[in-house]
Amino acid sequence: MRDRPSGFFNPWFQLALSVVCVLASELLLKRGASDTANPASAWSWTGISGLASPLVWWAIGLIIISFLSWLYVLRYIPLTIAFPMSRVVDVLVPLGCWIFLGEVISARRWVGIALVIIGLAVLAKPVARFEERL
């Protein structure tokens, strides 16, 4: 296999970049979609009206960045490893709300966060084996 690029072009760094962009875009999308919601419209199920919100456009920009870095990740890392790891974003959202917004995390959420972290730890060994092959 080819030499693995380092620094900015390291596939694991790109995976992290992709996750951060997704995290920010999810929050922007929800805000933008709620701002422009018009359930009475016949077209409301298509989501097109969301385009009226500038927040949705910011989110689209971030999604494009995360998409490009994700394509780069796919070149190097198998989907069975990269995709489950990318879902760490689902834990970062509530943790971010807890740390920065002072929101309360319920016991059930803490159990979920713990499960995801254990899952990532279980993935660590196949990742290490995959790294050896690179």
């Binding site: 919601a37 995709f83 489950p84 979920g112 196949p126």
Partner: protein, 114 residues
Amino acid sequence: MTFFSLTLILIALVTFVAGQLFLKRAMEFVSRSSFRNPRFIWLLSAGICSMAISFFLTLGLLQHFDLSYLYPFQGLSIIMITLLAAIVLKEKLTLQLAIGALLISAGVALVSLS
């Protein structure tokens, strides 16, 4: 939740999963040949179209439901993608990878149920 909205949620999920598989296939092609390969362009376009359908359906669903209601379905995408990557793309799926993916899926579902 109506049958209609459940169908839309499922279509959004399936188009998302299909998009990921198309993109992975496309990037495997790039590793072996050039960006101008017609098969690469076809796979990339299929992936982008699939993801775009999923994106707009999700945006529409977000206007009707809370994020915390729609998000547990994301947990399913991890199981579907891991399984299909092994079956369709012939990626190696070890027991450890499968257990890791299951734990993350369960965790995501628990975190988003509120």
